[in-house]
Amino acid sequence: MFQKPKSLLAYFYSFFQQAGEVSLLLLKVLKNMFKKPWERKVFIQQLEEIGVRSLPLVSLTAAFVGLAFGLHIYVAFHRYIGPDSEAYGGPMLSLGLTKEFIPILVGLMVTGRVGSAIAAEIGTMKITEQIDALFSLGADPTRYLVIPRVLACFIMLPCLTMYGDIIGMAGGFFYNVYIMGVNRILYIRTTVHYVELWDIAGGLIKAAVFGVIIALIGCWQGLRAAGGAEGVGKATTKTVVIASISILIVNFFLSKALPSI
């Protein structure tokens, strides 16, 4: 089947319409967040699903990024500053990881793992009338489905990022010190000396924002899913695409906005 190509105007129109829908959902989340009853059980379930179950993925990602990044930093210092300066790569590695790489990668990995799952689950519930059933049994879909997921992502992404920071830095440390034989004491000392708490906190703030983006877009796409299995598939794909791109764009602006000196 061929689709009529959309005019540029139609693209703009649907972009703003969709942005509006997401904003409305966010508004609804904020408005209902503190109202009782709280869906404690679902929230805890989501914390586990989003947080704990993502640990293996985050561990692998962070470890290998740390190793690879450590490798390049080593080469850079060795080549451009000179032998024996490699230990000073520690702070650079830590900054790069904690402020950019780990938050972004955790965001993207969790988008793939959790964002898509949220869209698929809620989308399936939507097309099988389960959302209507929730409503008829006294559970408000926003409160029962959206808020626990948004909150869980908001809390868990910084945690995962923090954990990823540690694993990533350990990876870089391992590569430099144990494989390339960089001076261990010096490496640690420069890292501790030059990396500030704020650098790490900045990355965590980013991660929290990414968490909200992931959950919100997943829920939004799930709730507007229509048209059977194909619709759920589309919602899932769109979630991954939209959330990933939003994360990359928002990341730049956050990097710019968050004070770095």
């Binding site: 009338e129 389960q130 049994l137 006294g138 559970a139 408000d140």
Partner: protein, 248 residues
């Protein structure tokens, strides 16, 4: 008890309801019949507030529900039990969790009491001891009966059944008719039963209403419907392909 006034609803360009007027009296069972796609499911989804009309009002005991916010609406939904056409069991929960879902939200009963009521509701639909099963493990008919148990577990006083006996063998279907009658007799519920099955409509209904082209063409006692002069109704209840109702 429920009064529907001039209800209109369209999806995009497709007009589904075009001025429905209908009453449900206290303690009455009203059967709604009509062709597939005539908007029966859409109609009852309006009654509980899942869908909002484009125009028209619905009153539940004098309170207009179409303009209520979701929060206020949830003060009324405990009075409603709804069996969905597709049943819509929560597929990540066990049968017991499905059935207790409304109880946990709508009552302050203790866990023991809730489990008791869950067992009682399942017993009523002939599914004693199925608490631990998952929806995927059930047959279509069993699923429907779990949906029924879920809708009646918290003892609502208005029950909306969307095709309770479709897809169920004739014996079980009749058992469901009995269940509908029992709910009315013992708990004095008022209910709306959507059905294609004209025999079951005769058996459970105090009144039968026919939805056609977005309107209720007639709402009357089963006897009157049977003897109705309206050719649309005659064609439907006798299941004839020829007549004023177009097939496709």
């Amino acid at each position: 008890m429920i009064r529907i006034v001039d209800l209109h609803k369209a999806f995009g360009r497709k007009k589904v309801l075009q001025g429905v007027n209908l009453d449900l009296k206290q303690g009455e069972t009203l059967a709604v019949i009509g062709q597939s796609g005539s908007g029966k499911s859409v109609l009852i989804k309006h009654i509980i507030g899942i869908l909002r009309p484009d125009k028209g009002q619905i009153f539940v005991d004098g309170v207009e529900i179409t303009t209520l916010k979701d929060d206020e609406l949830h003060k009324i939904t405990p009075r409603f039990g709804m069996l969905f056409q597709g049943v819509a069991l929560f597929d990540s929960m066990t049968v017991a969790q499905n059935v207790s879902f409304g109880l946990e939200r709508y009552t302050d009963f203790s866990q023991e009491r809730i489990q008791e009521l869950v067992a009682e509701s399942l017993d009523k639909v002939g599914l004693k001891g199925c608490e631990g099963l998952m929806p995927q493990e059930l047959s279509g008919g069993m699923r429907k009966r779990v949906g029924l148990a879920r809708a009646i577990a918290y003892r609502p006083d208005i029950i909306l059944y969307d095709e309770p006996s479709t897809g169920i063998d004739p014996i079980r279907a009749d058992a469901i008719n009995d269940l509908i009658n029992m709910m009315k007799r013992e708990m004095n519920v008022s209910s709306i039963v959507i059905t294609h099955d004209i025999v079951s409509a005769y058996k459970v209904a105090d009144r039968i209403a026919m939805l056609y082209e977005g309107k209720i063409v007639e709402a009357a006692a089963p006897e009157e419907i049977r003897n109705s002069k309206n050719p649309v109704i005659q064609q439907f209840i006798h299941g004839q392909a020829k007549g004023p109702i177009k097939n496709w």
